[in-house]
Symmetry: C3
Subunit: 131 residues, 3 copies
């Protein structure tokens, strides 16, 4: 069995969300399971009432003249990844508590809530990428 690609998705800017989504979609397309744990600002970006609005770009982008409001198609890319392969998205229970959110506040892309231990157990001996 192929070890999954595990991603701790922490950052909530459009560019990092899109980087994570394309990495997940690439792995799913190649038959590798993908195991995502949403924390902090990434978790906040999956709120049903915010997921379709832009979340800005990373700090580096603000140095230049680039439009900070441009949205990237990370939601569509994750939806495609779920159709292409095995993609599990878990909301970190500690981050839910920190942000005062419930899993019911999140988009249907999120499969469940859970902790670090469950995430690490699923990660097995595969790579763990923090984004």
């Amino acid at each position: 069995m192929t070890a999954p690609l595990s991603i701790v998705l922490f950052s909530g800017t459009e560019d990092k969300l899109h980087a994570a989504a394309t990495l997940a979609a690439g792995a799913a397309a190649m038959g590798q399971p993908v195991n995502i744990l949403l924390q902090y600002w990434a978790l906040d970006a999956f709120r049903t009432d915010r997921i379709e609005t832009s979340h800005g770009l990373a700090f580096e982008a603000t140095h230049g003249a680039r439009d900070d409001r441009s949205a990237l198609p990370w939601v569509d890319t994750l939806r495609m990844a779920k159709e292409l392969g095995e993609l599990q998205i878990r909301a970190c229970s500690g981050s839910l508590e920190y942000l005062g959110l419930d899993v019911g506040d999140l988009d249907a892309l999120v499969d469940s809530a859970g902790g670090i231990a469950a995430f690490l157990a699923d990660a097995g001996d595969g790579p763990i990428t923090f984004i």
Copy 2:
């Protein structure tokens, strides 16, 4: 032998330090050794004269109304992780030099100073997570 979870801990904001600490504590609790290399702003956060003060939140947090000064219990979580399992924290010698610090300026959580080569040798074929 289980390969360790290796973390290059670069970022010095409370939220990322806490994300790293909970990942480390989770792995330690599950019997996986943890191998942390402190660089740049994370290293600075371990200074004895600063470790108990808040280091702010990541850039994303400043977009919203969240209080930038709220501290997260990352120091306690790392102390707990050291009691739970095998956790090694190494100060990157290159970053010590860059910041003009000596290992004696750092909290007792830091076990030693060392370079990338020693960190990579300990990482073996396990995951390497940059936070």
Copy 3:
């Protein structure tokens, strides 16, 4: 065969570029192949017309009094890494398109352009680090 150290290099600040370069050089010196995918702001930093200018520091650095303009020798470190071992630097084709760049606009350190699938195929079952 040793699995490569694979790095998705996303961030374009001097400190993160240098952290990636020293990690790559350390692995190359120890005989481990290194597989880098340049995305977004890191890709922008490899533009021939910008690679020798400073790209600032990460957000954390701006909290303090540190000079935001100090350059770090990440370009030299990557050049050294290429001499020490097997280091492949690929420009992400999606990010090239997003930034309106062509591989010909980039420094000679960049070997080729390619997508996530090629990067993941080269990564095999080795670690994948997002910086």
